[in-house]
């Protein structure tokens, strides 16, 4: 090591900045190795490395300076404790001419401040001292108004993670004027002379208050650079939205750790809801949600917040609904306002219905006492007169009821205010929207509510048991007569499907198992066909069913493999095994239906390669496949390799019949990928008219659930009435990720066609593209490139996984 060091030392003085740059990088990467080598002089060696790097903080070349700081950060990352002396050096670099140096220096200061938060540093030109973390905080705040936006982003981001900073420094970030408690008088005498308040600058909000005030003090020392004041005020109104987003994020993190700060920064956050750039608005809504435990919204703030509900972006509205779910409102007017705005939102954007109902559910259950006085007004009841019964299907009315019922849950006096029809509506909603309407203790309806509520909780367990049991039953009954097996499979599939519909959390497992069973059922049915017994010329017609079954099994296996998230290796083996059986079936069917042997040669060859490939891929799992088709197949492999195609087919046929039904182990977590197209809604009667030959853009908005890596797998398909199909790959930026397992696709699809005489419907649907290579576990020797191209089993295909939506379009002939 030592020679390496000395060698580096020599090159560090090289005239080329590139050489010095690389040397420093090397030092950063190897720095701590010296520690282990020179064990005795450990501290010394370490400091040496830091000192060597530190010397290059004042190099003449900015690139070298940057490299030096980066090397220092690298040392820190690798676990070396940086020396506190670096702090002062780094502070000098904050006024460097080059932005990359400043940006790196900010980072370094942050690192040091996290290492030595409680150390005391002196304030220049005075004998005052403050904590290092406060000093660093002030310095980084100052950088929020740097000339370069790269530095500003960096500084704003880092501010968020400085939680140890003292609260009065923190609060200073929200006021551009230097607060008096961040100044110290030089002498006690002066201190006694006057007590002074906020500052000598005026706020510019009143006309005429900007006459110069009396000079307050010249001898005072600023504990914080006055440039650092109002860092967040600056950050939040920066011209680059990148800086604003960083500032909002930082604000969020600091507010989470300090409730008092959260209260103070609320106004600023609320103002950010009016930002011009959507990302910033969205970010600030999310931020607000995260800190909503610490805060209560005032009415005027709520006003601003609610105004955003009219935003045309669905993302923003939904984020806001989520925010409202966990917001504390202080007055009943606030609740009323929120309700009114939400209803307005509902009429303007009916697609937000579910989100709004959910939002009102939480709003009601959080503020029962505030809702109570509003009930008569909301239900428009009158003390003397009966009023008309509202329409039960009106989403707005349902929204109001959701709010009230949820509030009534913890407010027993509320049901007394309900009119008769309200109770009826309650019963109806309790059944139809049970996830939104809680069980209430209503007078005279005790039985219903008490009977329902206890039965909900344990309900889940028996259904799971039921699932297990029905599967067990199928697997155990291996040797039932064919008829019985078929029937049992059919019943079980039906049961599973129904179960999936009832219990959404079991839907994935149920569907997955049902699909597998269906494959098996198809296979059994195909093997029972009469065609195997009749003479060759006759089964041409009958073979349709068998080959269709083979094809369908293939499709189903691809669905099983690629449409579910959470599928593990042990399931993949079974799925592949099933596919292999389907291929065997296909081979047999073709062998029986085609004349001549020549095409068979190729097919047999291919099939055997597949078997070989299967064996190589799943060699580790083979022991689990006792008695299975492939198990037997592999036993006979040597014989198969040498025999003629006709014999091969014969052997396969017997083996297919003899093979047992493999048990499909259930994965822990399995979810079926699904997609719903929200837009286009497919209800429009007005065709989308455009000139033929030109394109028309169709907005597509869909939610995707449990899709892994949607950017590369999800496609949009457009089917024209003439059978022409078009596949569109959405841009990666079109996918949003609002929550774990959920994605949203908002994209534009371009349609075009030649002229039509009549408007007609095109179908739009989403496809899940798959590539069979992606799932196969890679063995080392496969990666070694031994796989010959013809065994390349990468089969690419697509599975439709959303309902198709019809869009009415009309390409007009171009006018000349």
């Amino acid at each position: 090591m030592m020679p390496l060091t000395s060698c580096r030392m020599k090159h560090l003085t090289d005239t080329s900045h590139g050489v010095r740059n690389k040397c420093l990088q090397l030092l950063g990467n190897l720095g701590s190795l010296e520690k282990s080598v020179t064990k005795d002089g450990e501290g010394l060696a370490v400091r040496d490395v830091q000192k060597i790097i530190g010397d290059y903080f004042s190099d003449q070349d900015p690139r070298v300076r940057t490299a030096a700081i980066k090397a220092m950060l690298q040392l820190h990352e690798r676990g070396l404790k940086l020396h506190q002396a670096i702090y002062n050096q780094a502070c000098k670099l904050l006024s460097d001419d080059y932005e990359q140096v400043r940006s790196a220096a900010v980072q370094l200061i942050w690192v040091v401040s996290q290492l030595y938060p409680e150390s005391i540093v002196p304030i220049p030109s005075s004998n005052e001292e403050i904590r290092l973390v406060d000093d660093a905080f002030g310095k980084i705040c100052h950088m929020v108004s740097d000339g370069s936006w790269v530095v500003r982003v960096q500084a704003a981001k880092l501010l968020g993670s400085m939680e140890q900073v003292s609260s009065h420094f923190l609060e200073q970030t929200l006021d551009k004027k230097l607060m008096s408690d961040l100044r110290r008088k030089r002498t006690a005498h002066e201190r006694a002379k006057e007590l002074y308040s906020s500052g000598e600058f005026s706020s510019g909000r009143k006309w005429g208050d900007d006459a110069p005030k009396e000079e307050i003090d010249t001898g005072a020392v600023n504990l914080i650079e006055s440039g650092a004041c109002g860092a967040f005020v600056h950050g939040l109104e920066d011209e680059m939205y990148e800086v604003r987003i960083a500032a909002v994020e930082a604000l969020c993190m600091l507010a989470q750790s300090s409730p008092s700060f959260a209260e103070k920064c609320l106004d600023f956050l609320v103002d950010m809801f009016n930002d011009e750039i959507e990302e910033v608005r969205l970010q600030s809504i999310h931020t607000m949600r995260k800190i909503s435990n610490n805060i209560t919204l005032r009415e005027d703030q709520l006003d601003t917040v609610l105004a955003v509900l009219e935003d045309s972006s669905r993302d923003i509205r939904e984020a806001l609904h989520e925010l409202l779910c966990c917001t504390n409102v202080s007055t009943k007017e606030g609740i009323h306002l929120a309700l009114v705005e939400l209803l307005k939102n509902l009429t303007k954007y009916p697609t937000d219905r579910d989100s709004i109902w959910k939002c009102l559910k939480f709003l009601g259950s959080r503020h029962p006492t505030l809702v109570l006085p509003l009930v008569p007004e909301l239900l428009s009841t009158h003390p003397f007169f009966d009023t008309a019964e509202p329409d039960m299907d009106d989403p707005a009315y349902i929204a109001v009821l959701v709010l009230i019922f949820n509030a009534a849950k913890t407010c027993p006096t509320m049901p007394a205010l309900f009119s008769d029809h309200t109770f009826r509506h309650y019963a109806y909603l309790r059944d139809s929207l049970s996830h939104l309407v809680p069980a209430l203790r209503l007078p005279g309806r005790k039985l219903v509510s008490s009977a329902v509520s206890p039965s909900i909780a344990p309900h889940e367990d028996p259904s799971h048991q039921f699932l297990q049991q029905s599967l067990e039953r199928v697997y155990s009954l291996q040797h039932l007569d064919p008829q019985g097996t078929q029937e049992l499979l059919e019943f079980t599939i039906r049961d599973l499907q129904r179960l999936g519909e009832l219990q959404s959390e079991l839907a994935g497992v149920a569907d997955f198992s049902a699909t597998y069973l269906r494959c098996q059922l198809l296979l059994i049915k195909a093997l029972q066909e009469k065609l195997w017994n009749v003479a060759a010329p006759l089964y041409l017609k009958q073979s349709d069913l068998a080959s269709a079954a083979a094809k369908q099994i293939m499709e189903e296996t691809y669905k099983m493999e690629f449409m579910y998230s959470g599928v593990e290796n042990k399931q993949v083996v079974i799925i592949h095994h099933m596919r292999l059986q389907a291929k065997a079936l296909q081979l047999i069917v073709t062998a029986r239906t085609t004349r001549g042997v020549d095409p068979l040669f190729g097919m047999c060859e291919k099939f055997l390669q597949e078997v070989d490939f299967f064996q190589r891929c799943f060699i580790a799992d083979l022991p689990h496949l006792q008695d299975s088709f492939v198990d037997k197949l592999l036993d006979l492999m040597p014989r198969l390799m040498t025999s003629k195609p006709v014999e091969v087919v014969k052997i396969l046929q017997t083996m297919l019949r003899q093979s047992t039904f493999l048990h499909l182990p259930l994965p822990e977590q399995i979810h079926k990928a699904s997609a719903t197209i929200i837009e286009p809604a497919g209800e429009s009667d007005n065709p989308l008219r455009f000139t033929s030959g030109l394109v028309v853009a169709l907005d597509v908005d869909a939610t995707l659930e449990h899709v892994q890596d949607p950017q590369s797998t999800v496609k949009v398909q457009v089917l024209y009435p003439d059978g022409q199909a078009q596949m569109i790959h959405p841009k990666p930026a079109d996918f949003r990720n609002p929550g774990p397992g959920r994605h949203r696709l908002i994209t534009q699809v371009y349609l075009s066609h030649t002229a039509w005489t009549e408007p007609c419907q095109v179908e739009v649907r989403l496809l899940l593209a798959y590539n069979s290579n992606s799932r196969i576990p890679k063995s080392p020797w496969i990666e070694g490139g031994e796989v010959s191209p013809q065994v390349e089993t990468s089969i690419e295909g697509t599975i439709p996984f959303s309902k198709s939506v019809k869009v009415y379009i009309m390409p007009k002939p171009a006018r000349r």
Binding site: S203, G204, R205, E237, E276, E310
Partner: protein
């Protein structure tokens, strides 16, 4: 002694009539050429006779720079160039060049057609004047002549506003014009690099103000307008046709759209439409948001804002009217104000600064009874609100800009004297630089020490490099060479080359020095002792004892001779050429200390 001289002809401890003369390294530059809104007599234009009484202005000025199109920065331009007479180049940015003539024409119309002034510049003069304009791009370095160069930086404030750096050699001045350090709804923030000018001339309109967050202001503004409209009142917002007007329009437009309000918003004068056209055009000068979204929708295409007709002022029902000019000193805004002042439901919002003497200033100061022309007294019952939307940097912003540019000294213009004084103190305290605030006509002289570039011949440089180690920025280093000054350029060459170039023969220059030594021994022995002494002291020099009894150290010769009178004293003759001066003088001082006592 080189110096920079600055004389404000206008805007010195005052707002309005910006016009600043700068002489830098023999070049004279005029910064801005504005009119004063508070005056209607000769005082409205700067006193150009200060520059020259009878000569052509063109001979005295190298160029004129206009920072932006506000009339207090460009209003006197046609008068200056056509009536007083100036034919040199006038520099301004493209948007300024486009919008400036519109405003000048408007100004001319009001002055000539409405007030009936004679001896005012004509439309033709405006056209002729604009022909002399040279448009510059942001960050483009324009070479005015061989030495003088100017460069524009983005300044926010209004569309096309720029700060200018004026540079001659290594001396430079930055003039900010009006600028804004916080971005608004349509423009970005001013920005300058660390150009370290000798002098920064900055505006200081808001010298004593640190504004709250701009978002609070916007919220307040919208709330006030909304409330007034809700109760059926009319809202008058006096603005200058360009600048704040566009920002407030965007603000109200988006608010109206969001809140779905129906009350009409009007914008007075046809001037705006023309100007709005330019706003749509110069997208690159606007802020990030507008630049990013103009493909979908240009923010300056307003849906709710319609052109105003004089008859609309009497329409019943609520409305919002933007009217020019912004300080209620004349024109349409004043007319509407008179109509609406009597109703307490109505409101006037002053979004910016008002110069003393204008109606705007009076009502903001709380005056409720105004004396109008013809002895009428107007009672103001309507609400008067002030809202600082003016796009000038506040004290914080000014300090921020000073911090960014790192000037050697600062000069404040375009502000009130008392407030300047305050800010001056703050700047001096915080940045430890000199700060000036001259009044109109007062000259500030700044001595400068410009660095003079000297070219070094490659041969000499390489020789030096070969001799020593790497150049170290922190340590000064001695270098021998000859400085040749020829046609005001400087070169440093080796002496041989200098001799050759100048055709001179080389002269040898030798210093000789006698050192008396008390030594009774013979000359040879003395020489021997000197030799051994020097040998031991000067380890890294070549010390030789020659056969003729003399001693040499490098090229320095030392001979010992007996003193003619006193045999006990020896005289050492030390001789060296002037190139070895350093070593030679060291040697003599060493020998003067005497030889160490011989060990024998």
């Amino acid at each position: 002694m080189p110096e920079i001289r600055v004389t404000p002809l206008g805007a010195g401890q005052d707002v309005g009539r910006s016009c600043i003369l700068v002489s830098i390294a023999g070049k004279n530059v005029m910064l801005d050429c504005g009119m004063h809104m508070g005056f209607n007599d000769d005082r409205r234009f700067p006193d150009f006779s200060y520059i020259t009484r009878n000569g052509r202005l063109t001979d005295f000025l190298d160029c004129v720079i206009i920072s932006h199109f506000h009339l207090d920065h460009c209003g006197a331009l046609p008068y200056f160039s056509e009536m007083v007479g100036y034919d040199g180049p006038i520099y301004m940015t493209h948007p300024t060049q486009a919008i400036c003539p519109i405003l000048l024409e408007d100004y001319r119309k009001i002055a000539v057609d409405k007030k009936g002034e004679a001896n005012f510049f004509t439309s033709q003069m405006i056209k002729d004047c604009m022909k002399k304009v040279v448009a510059v791009h942001l960050h483009q370095t324009v070479q005015v002549d061989d030495e003088l160069e100017i460069k524009a930086y983005y300044a926010g404030h209004v569309l096309g506003a720029a700060m200018f750096q004026i540079k001659v050699g290594s001396e430079s001045v930055v003039y900010t014009g009006d600028y804004n350090m916080t971005p608004d709804r349509h423009l970005g923030a001013a920005w300058i690099d660390k150009c370290r000018p000798n002098l920064l001339i900055t505006e200081s309109t808001y010298a004593t103000t640190i504004r709250d967050s701009k978002r609070c202001r916007e919220r307040d503004f919208l709330k006030k307008v909304h409330e007034a409209v809700e109760r059926g009142g009319k809202v008058l917002i006096p603005v200058f046709a360009l600048g704040r007007a566009q920002e407030l329009c965007i603000l109200l437009e988006t608010f109206w759209e969001r809140m779905n309000l129906k009350a009409p918003i009007y914008f007075s004068t046809g001037l705006t439409e023309k100007a709005n056209h330019y706003y749509k055009l110069f997208i690159t000068w606007t802020n990030q948001k507008i630049r990013k979204t103009f493909v979908q929708r240009n923010m300056f295409e307003f849906k709710h804002i319609k052109a105003f007709d004089r008859a609309f002022a009497d329409n019943p029902g609520p409305m919002v009217v933007f009217a020019t000019p912004g300080m209620l000193h004349a024109g349409q805004s004043l007319q509407i104000f008179r109509k609406w002042a009597g109703n307490e439901k109505n409101m006037v919002i002053m979004p910016g600064y008002c110069v003393q003497g204008t109606v705007g200033h009076k009502i903001l100061s709380g005056q409720r009874k105004l004396e109008m022309e013809g002895r009428q007294v107007l009672e103001v019952k309507m609400q008067v609100e002030y809202m600082s939307f003016s796009a000038h940097a506040d004290a914080k912003g000014i300090m921020q800009l000073v911090g960014q540019a790192e000037p050697e000294s600062v000069l404040l213009v375009h502000g009130e004297a008392k407030k300047m004084e305050f800010l001056k103190q703050k700047i001096e305290q915080e940045f430890r630089v000199n700060c000036y605030m001259p009044a109109n006509g007062e000259t500030v002289t700044l001595p400068t020490s410009p660095s003079i570039p000297v070219g070094i011949s490659l041969g000499l440089l390489k020789r030096e490099m070969a001799q020593g180690l790497l150049p170290d920025a922190k340590k000064p280093r001695l270098l021998h060479g000859t400085l040749i000054m020829k046609d005001s350029n400087f070169r440093l060459v080796s002496s041989e080359q200098a001799l050759k170039e100048l055709g001179l023969a080389e002269h040898q220059l030798r210093f000789t020095c006698r050192v008396h030594l008390h030594d009774p021994r013979k000359e040879q022995e003395t020489a021997m002792r000197v030799y051994s002494h020097l040998k031991s002291v000067l380890k890294d020099h070549c010390v030789q004892h020659l056969p003729d009894g003399s001693v040499t150290v490098e090229s320095i010769l030392i001979q010992a001779a007996a003193h003619s009178e006193d045999p006990g004293t020896k005289v050492l003759l030390v001789s060296w050429t002037y190139q070895d001066e350093e070593l030679g003088s060291y040697l003599t001082s060493l020998l003067k200390k005497g030889l160490p006592q011989a060990s024998s």
